[in-house]
C-alpha cells in the first residue's frame, strides 16, 4: 500500500509548480492555468486525507472546490477578454494603471 505521505508529497510538488507558474509566466491565461494546478493539488490532499480518515467529507469538499474553480474560470476568463480588448496584450505588466 502507498503511504499517505507520498500522496501529500505529490500534492506539495504540484502546488509548488502552480506557485512557480504564477510567479514566472507573463501570460494571464497561463497564470489562470497555474491557479487550477494549485487547486488540484489541494484536491488531491483532501481526497487522500478523507480516505485515510474513512469519511466522505474530503470528497464533498473537493466537489465544492471544483464548483468554485468553475466559477473562477468563467469570471477570470471574462476579465481576460475585457482586458485584451483594451490593450491587445495578455501580459500582466501591460495593466499597471488603474484607469485609462
Amino acid at each position: 500500500m502507498i503511504p499517505l505521505s507520498h500522496y501529500l508529497l505529490v500534492s506539495a510538488v504540484l502546488f509548488a509548480i502552480g506557485t512557480t507558474g504564477v510567479f514566472l509566466r507573463r501570460n494571464l491565461i497561463t497564470i489562470l492555468l497555474s491557479i487550477e494546478i494549485m487547486l488540484n493539488a489541494v484536491n488531491l490532499s483532501f481526497v487522500a486525507f478523507g480516505r485515510q480518515l474513512g469519511t466522505v467529507d474530503g470528497q464533498i469538499i473537493v466537489f465544492f472546490v471544483m464548483t468554485v474553480a468553475a466559477a473562477e474560470a468563467a469570471v477570470g476568463l471574462a476579465i481576460v477578454i475585457g482586458l485584451y480588448r483594451h490593450r491587445e496584450s495578455l501580459n500582466p505588466d501591460a495593466f499597471v494603471s488603474l484607469k485609462w
Binding site: 508529497l9 510538488v13 512557480t20 510567479f23 491565461i29 492555468l33 488540484n40 481526497v47 473537493v62
Partner: protein
C-alpha cells in the same frame, strides 16, 4: 506490486505534465498538457477509492473548464507571450530576479517535504474502512451532501448564478445595449 507502480506512474505523469504547462510559451499546448495532468489525477482518485471525484474531475475539469480555456485561447488568438521592448527592460525581467521565483518554489517544496517528514501519523498506508463497496460510497456521498452540507450546496448554486451573470456582464462589449 502493480498498485505501487500505477501510483508512481500516474504521479510522474501528473507532475511532468504540470511542469510542461509552466514550461510552454504557447498557451494552447499549456491547456492540452493540463488536460493530461487532470487525467492522471483522475487515475489517482480512482486509486484512492473515490470514483465520483474521478469522474467529476474528467467531466467538469477536463471537459468543461479546459474547453472554456481553449475557447478563450483560440478567440484571443495571441498564442505567444509577447516580448516587447519595455517588457525586456522591465526590472523584474533581469536574470537574477527571474530565478528568484523558481528558487522560492524549490524552497516551498523543501519546506513542505520537511514538514511532512516531521509530521506524525501519516507514514502508514492509506486505508479507510469504507473501502469495500464503491457504489455504496457514492450513495453515502450523496446522502451526506444533501443532509450535512445542504446549505453549502444551495449557496453553491447562488455562486454559479452570480458567476454566470458576472461573466456575461464582463465579456459584453461596451456601449452595447441589449
Amino acid at each position: 506490486m502493480p498498485e505501487t507502480l500505477t501510483f508512481y506512474l500516474l504521479s510522474a505523469l501528473a507532475i511532468g505534465a504540470s511542469a510542461l504547462v509552466i514550461g510552454q510559451r504557447n498557451p494552447m499546448y499549456s491547456v492540452l498538457m493540463l488536460i493530461a495532468s487532470f487525467g492522471a489525477l483522475a487515475g489517482l482518485y480512482i486509486q484512492l477509492d473515490a470514483p465520483f471525484v474521478a469522474v467529476a474531475q474528467i467531466i467538469i475539469y477536463a471537459g468543461a473548464i479546459m474547453v472554456l480555456f481553449l475557447f478563450v485561447v483560440m478567440l484571443l488568438n495571441a498564442p505567444k507571450e509577447d516580448g516587447a521592448d519595455w517588457d525586456q527592460a522591465h526590472p523584474l525581467r533581469l536574470p537574477p530576479v527571474t530565478r528568484l521565483g523558481s528558487m522560492l518554489a524549490v524552497l516551498l517544496v523543501v519546506q513542505l517535504a520537511w514538514a511532512l517528514m516531521e509530521a506524525n501519523g501519516i507514514g502508514g498506508p492509506v486505508s479507510g474502512e469504507t473501502g469495500a463497496d464503491t457504489v455504496s460510497s457514492v450513495r453515502q456521498l450523496g446522502r451526506v451532501l444533501f443532509t450535512d452540507y445542504v446549505f453549502a450546496f444551495e449557496a453553491t448554486s447562488i455562486l454559479i448564478l452570480v458567476a454566470m451573470v458576472g461573466a456575461v456582464m464582463l465579456a459584453r462589449r461596451e456601449g452595447e445595449r441589449s
